[in-house]
Symmetry: C2
């Protein structure tokens, strides 16, 4: 019998939606009049980049257009948004279905210059990324690897690296590109691509980047939080990736600019992509504390290849240990400030709220800006819902990651019973430590129990922090940073159990499948005449006799 040969894992097929090509609703054409609006691309060689940050009047005009379009066409302020949100939430459980037509509409309402950017961005993704990605949102494009793909290698192949865009994908010529330093630096300068690659010491770091929305789906399944302007995509457990990033440390470049003025506390990054907040466009702008310039890389290569457009070509920031939102792509300006960036992606998004704040009372000032990521882990195999055939031990594998500085993943444990007993991954079952990267792990977990089991994993960092027990322990209104113990439910078949072996042999004899689990047995579970005889003879007495 095949099933006795080895402990095998079969997918029930209900884990992951097949990636499909999402095109969004690109049919909206009203208000698109050639030359009627002032919005222009900034310079030759910078396709998909409008310098909103230098044109406050353009930002206001764009907002006025979108406000008016929204008010004129809609019965209530959030009517179309509401429909879109509802559709999104309805499909939260089936990763792969969010189209992002609302965000597309923002661009397409603003005239011919922006009109094609959503469709072009999708073409870029199709050209550069693997067809095996799970699409979480088509525009802005958000996609992640499958569970099978992501743990094949410690270094994620570029086409499989997750993508979390906040707007369009600019296409910038290397030769046209420059990086401008300003604000509270002693000697503001501009650096060309050629200078960046040749004038400074080059450094390569192995670094995992994780989205702050990693594993958000678990929070959303617990309770719906904000589906904000940025569209809080229902990421599963693969919104992270690991690469060898090559570039120049930010400290080196700041030194080149004569160092920082005394009151500089934060470094603001400008990305060339266009992003909207409350109908107002801007470039994607966030900041990091000045101390992070030491290990932040201004990168031009990803795993030895030039950056692709999807990943921020020609140059991006890589901020180790921080949420991916700080590793700005299509980077063109860095400005030293005496405070964190006031731009909305820094000041009004990526905020971590307290438990008693929600839509009924939250203010931006009730949250804090998210920086370093906490210890987290997830099970990639088996998959949720699988029937697992085994001989008393179930092989479990996954990833573990922590952010921050001077920190790493120290230990991983797996529980076969929802957190009652824990089994550590042995030393030989986990990949090497990195200062800034994840570890992949595999462990065989003793599992005498059969039927539906709740498997869960937890990791420990160098300072002995571990993960919260329940999703609700860390649930927050913006559903960021899900790092509670990851749970999967499997159906365990211990083939060393004689009753199970006998049942599987019987099914095999009748060519009857075991799965789907809930479909009734195709054969009698025991000899009916014998069973009824036992009842008749009182051998299965239900009532006491005295």
């Amino acid at each position: 019998m095949d099933f006795t040969l080895a402990a095998k894992t079969f997918s029930t097929g209900n884990s992951i939606a097949k990636p499909t090509e999402l095109t969004g609703d690109l049919s909206f054409k009203e208000g698109v009049v050639e030359g009627a609006l002032p919005f222009k691309e900034t310079a030759a060689g910078w396709h998909g980049y409008i310098a909103w940050h230098d044109h406050p009047d353009w930002k206001e005009l764009a907002k006025a257009i979108l406000d008016a379009a929204q008010k004129g066409q809609l019965e209530s302020p959030f009517k179309p948004g509401q429909k879109a949100y509802d559709d999104q939430m309805a499909r939260c459980n089936a990763v792969g279905g969010i189209v992002g037509s609302r965000f597309s509409e923002y661009f397409m309402r603003l005239g011919p210059v922006l009109y094609d950017w959503p469709a072009e961005s999708w073409e870029t993704v199709k050209k550069e990324k693997s067809r095996n990605l799970q699409h979480v949102l088509s525009f802005p494009y958000n996609g992640e690897a499958t569970k099978d793909d992501i743990v094949k290698e410690v270094i994620t192949p570029n086409p499989l690296h997750f993508v979390r865009n906040h707007g369009n994908i600019p296409l910038i010529d290397v030769d046209a590109w420059s990086l401008e330093f300003g604000g509270l630096v002693n000697d503001p300068k501009s650096i060309t691509f050629g200078q960046l690659k040749s004038a400074f010491p080059i450094k390569t770091i192995t670094c995992t980047i994780a989205c702050s929305g990693l594993r958000r789906k678990e929070q959303q399944l617990e309770a719906l939080g904000d589906f904000d302007e940025l569209i809080n995509a229902p990421w599963t457990e693969q919104a992270l990736g690991t690469a060898k990033w090559t570039g120049v440390t930010l400290k080196t470049l700041i030194d080149y600019c004569g160092g920082l003025k005394e009151d500089a506390t934060d470094l603001e990054f400008y990305g060339a992509d266009t992003y909207f907040k409350r109908n107002k466009p801007d470039n994607y702008i966030v900041s990091i504390p000045v101390r992070k310039m030491e290990d932040t890389i201004i990168a031009f290569e990803m795993n030895g290849e030039p950056l692709t457009a999807t990943h921020g070509a020609p140059v991006r920031a890589v901020v180790p240990g921080y949420i991916g939102a700080r590793s700005v792509k299509w980077l063109f300006r860095i400005k030293a400030l005496s405070h964190p960036s006031l731009a909305p992606a820094q000041s009004e998004e990526y905020l971590y709220f307290t438990h008693q704040t929600g839509k009924h009372n939250y203010r931006w000032s009730d949250g804090f800006q998210i920086g370093g990521m906490p210890i987290s882990s997830a099970i990639m195999s088996p998959k949720n819902g699988e029937v697992v055939y085994h001989s008393g031990k179930i092989k479990v594998s996954g990833w573990a990651y922590t952010g921050g500085s001077d920190n790493w993943v120290e230990r991983v444990e797996v529980s076969p019973n929802g957190g009652a007993d824990w089994y550590a991954v042995p030393r030989e079952g986990i990949t090497q430590k990195y200062w800034h990267a994840w570890r992949l792990w595999t462990v065989e977990v003793p599992t005498p129990a059969q039927g539906y089991l709740d498997f869960t994993a937890r990791a420990w960092d160098a300072n002995m922090n571990t993960q919260p027990t329940l999703v609700r322990d860390g649930w927050n209104w913006d559903t960021h940073v899900t790092n509670s113990c990851h749970h999967i439910q499997i159906y365990s078949l211990n083939i060393t159990d004689p009753s199970t072996a006998a049942r599987l042999a019987l099914l095999h004899k009748h060519s009857a499948p075991f799965e789907p689990v809930h479909v009734p047995l195709a054969v009698e579970p025991e000899d009916e005449a014998e069973y009824l005889g036992r009842i008749e003879r009182g051998e299965l007495g239900r009532e006491p006799v005295e």
Copy 2:
């Protein structure tokens, strides 16, 4: 402002599917040849009743027909069943969608006598029952009241009483009907309807009947169990009802038959409906222990009205404290046995399995036959998913019930935080005790907390039994008897909280709805300029300064 007037509860509209008329797939016509098959209704005045129990040859023939039809038409033994099961499970979350075409097909394949029974049964339901029922399964018909309807009165109005059929609904003339006693009684007799009503002391009891599948949906959402031949319908929390049942005690009638022979241990009930197990038809037959004849009523009235066809007219059993499956409808025969009934509804269904048994190894003999129901309760208001506006206390109401004998509901408690703190229902908040009926309750629960909250309830019986904490504590392969603490998730808005009051006032001013909760605020959560000023001035410092 309207919302400050009182603590009000608004439905988010996502709780209950609207009842819709389910017709099933009644298009199957193959093999229906007039006169070609021997299956006949038993007697005039007994429409919808075939005496399968007296015709073992008919049972075998019917099984052969269905086996052949299945094998000839289907690629694998459970192919069509599987599709049906999958459809059912996919719709488990939306009560109201199970059509029961597989069960209809059993009837329609067996020739013109049975062909119209599924459709006729549905017509009977439509005529006799409330249009407000939630249909859980169209054929065999299963339906329950809504949460709002069920707690309006301690005595459930007949049209709202839940219905759990196992087959068709027979239409039996009172004048044709008789009840036959046999087996291990000293003096076997037959009783007419006239005799039953006039020759014996009449007794009325107030009795709650609950399906063993009550609250099954909670187990199914935890993990899919068997979707067996009987179709384990995804009942929510209303598969129970309370009525004043009038009739004659079974003890009285057994005495009339000269009492029981010494070795009689069980009393077997025969119902006139047709039910199928593994393609083999039979009448619906189960049994109860002889001790239960003391309080079992052979009933002909429900709340002072003659029984309707849907509820077993002209006569049914009512077995207090036991699962509804033992209160046989369309009763026509009672047989004393020296063991529990060997019929499949008793010996192969309604079995309670151990935790380590499942599809991989269960045998009927691993289960025990379910009798008395344990202590249970459920919250009927607020409803899962509701946004609740309140002034620091939330009004919660529901039902509590326990089965068994010499037992009753003693106490009910509600927790506003998933079982951490418990608040008892005060004496004046709960309806009177009955020996055999539920109690309805209301309690105001102190709730300072806001946002998504996990409310749960538990009841205590006279012997201080209470409910298990988690669904998984009692999860079993046949998903019977869900009595773990019932949980609902609400969104709490404490309007005495100044920050919430201010937010609601702001939304009111802008005519902006609060719900749906996950749709972004239509207004700024605080003054943006002031907030950004605080960041600029370092008042919200994220980094330590020394």
